[in-house]
């Protein structure tokens, strides 16, 4: 809570929407705000009433840059919104940065107003930030499927410590809303919340596969990529991270790095000059820089020049020396010119024609020190890039110090 734990000393709290963002329909703004309030009223004795004039307890507004308090907004990104703890005057008020792209959808190209409003209204009611990853009051924006959104237990514990449980029943209800809106504006219907993940806070129907042992002789990978000098190996939701600075292999999950990406990559590669890694799953791909996912993604793989008959990529690898990226699909491969951002003529070609001795389909590939490493099942092929010559075969987990 905030210092001295300020709370509203009444159960009937009023709110007023002072202005609207042009990014959304007014009705959608009102619905998002109402849903956000309903989230909190469902777990407390509080009741929220909207008024259309005069001074409400919680005044909600959109503003850019300096807007009359000591906490100016900062343009797109960064700070999205803030709100004040319960009290008179500015107390309880919530401000949203108009320089953001507000949306009712869950998308990588904007911020879901319901999610941000629900967080800020938590402040308006007296909650400060939680360090529990996955809680609504966690300070970092997390793009989450808002259909059937449920408060984290940490949020419920926090707000009930201030106001107690709802009067009708001792336990909070399990459902706050009926399904309301689609999850994304782009054509592909992709959930933005990853599952499975290490800290389950929402309902996921099935248990994820267990992490294979590093030294399992049958270990296979979905995708492999370099990233700023390190090498990341992906299998289902799991990541093996090999750094040149540490001898131990680090175990992570995809969710721990990129919470909004979906597990089970098909392919991945790094374009080091642009500090970008591209991830592929089915007929879509994402571009990330470190932990940040570029806006505007996912995009269809057809944007790269694949025919519509190609529905997924098996593997991809970038050659830094020629600025070409090679995509492997079945028994064929494409060459993509990263400078012109277009597929090269004369492709696809058969893998066997240029890479003798390499079994296909290729599950994963990466480039290191002038060699390509192709993975087929639990076998790994080291190939001299320039000569396209197979040098040796190894087990897929040869990098794990087994």
């Amino acid at each position: 809570a905030f210092p001295h734990s300020p709370t509203w000393k009444k159960e009937e709290v009023t709110y007023r929407i002072l202005n609207y963002t042009p990014d959304m329909l007014q009705a959608d703004v009102e619905e998002a705000i109402a849903r956000a309030f309903q989230l909190w009223s469902s777990v407390t004795p509080l009741r929220f009433t909207r008024i259309h004039g005069g001074q409400a307890d919680i005044m909600i507004s959109f503003a850019a840059g300096f807007h009359g308090d000591f906490y100016s907004f900062d343009g797109p990104g960064g700070t999205l919104a803030h709100a004040y703890s319960p009290g008179s005057g500015i107390g309880g008020d919530a401000h949203f940065d108009e320089d953001e792209n507000w949306t009712k959808f869950t998308t990588n190209s904007g911020y879901n107003l319901f999610l941000v409003a629900a967080h800020e209204l938590g402040h308006s009611l007296g909650l400060s930030h939680s360090n529990v990853f996955g809680a609504l009051m966690y300070p970092i924006y997390m793009a989450t499927d808002t259909r059937n959104y449920q408060l984290h237990q940490d949020d419920i514990n926090g707000i009930q410590a201030l106001y107690g449980p709802p009067k009708e029943s001792a336990a909070p209800p399990t459902k706050a809303f009926p399904p309301q809106e689609p999850t994304d504006m782009v054509p592909a219907e992709e959930p933005t919340q990853m599952s499975p993940r290490e800290e389950p806070t929402e309902m996921t129907p099935s248990k994820p596969p267990q992490r294979p042992d590093d030294c399992d002789p049958h270990l296979t990978f979905d995708a492999i990529t370099t990233l700023r000098g390190e090498t990341l190996f992906f299998k289902d939701s799991y990541v093996w991270r090999k750094s040149p600075y540490f001898s131990e292999i680090e175990h992570d999950t995809i969710f721990s790095f990129w919470p909004s990406l979906i597990a089970g990559f098909d392919a991945a590669y790094e374009v080091d000059k642009r500090d970008r890694v591209l991830f592929f799953k089915d007929d879509q791909y994402w571009a990330v820089s470190g932990y940040s996912i570029d806006s505007g993604f996912p995009k269809p793989i057809q944007n790269l020049g694949f025919p519509t008959s190609v529905r997924k990529i098996d593997a991809a690898v970038h050659d830094q020396s020629t600025k070409r990226t090679y995509f492997f699909v079945g028994n064929k491969y494409w060459s993509f010119n990263e400078n012109t951002q277009s597929m090269e003529r004369g492709y696809p070609r058969k893998i066997a024609a240029d890479y003798h001795g390499i079994s296909h389909p290729i599950d994963a590939a990466f480039q290191k020190n002038g060699y390509f490493y192709f993975f087929h099942g639990s076998t790994q092929f080291e190939v001299d890039i320039k000569r396209k010559k197979l040098i040796r075969t190894m087990k897929s987990n040869s990098w794990f110090n087994c």
């Binding site: 905030f2 210092p3 906490y71 907004f73 990104g77 960064g78 700070t79 999205l80 919104a81 803030h82 709100a83 953001e100 911020y111 941000v116 967080h119 800020e120 402040h123 400060s128 930030h129 360090n131 990853f133 300070p139 970092i140 924006y141 990233l227 700023r228 000098g229 390190e230 500090d275 470190g290 932990y291 940040s292």
Partner: protein, 83 residues
């Protein structure tokens, strides 16, 4: 993840601003021991931030810490001295 080197100075400035906004970091310009004092206090604040987010607590501005700082977030500070 490792840092892309050319961004290092910008990153320190960004981190300083972040810690001022959310972790009550104050750069006292008139301290006699300014440089070392600021570095130590900034390292303390970085540790506080790393602890809050469950990052490895090193006091160093590593890439994981910096990337966390660049995530879109709420404007309310994370420390209790906010008023």
């Amino acid at each position: 993840f490792p840092v892309a080197q050319e961004k290092e100075k910008q990153d320190v400035q960004y981190a300083k601003k972040y810690l001022e906004n959310f972790y009550d970091f104050k750069e006292e310009k008139h301290s006699l021991f300014r440089t070392k004092d600021i570095v130590n206090r900034m390292a303390d604040k970085i540790r506080e931030m790393q602890s809050f987010f469950g990052l490895e607590v090193t006091g160093e501005l590593n890439q994981k810490t910096l990337d966390m700082m660049k995530q879109p977030r709420c404007g309310i500070p994370d420390v209790r001295s906010y008023s």
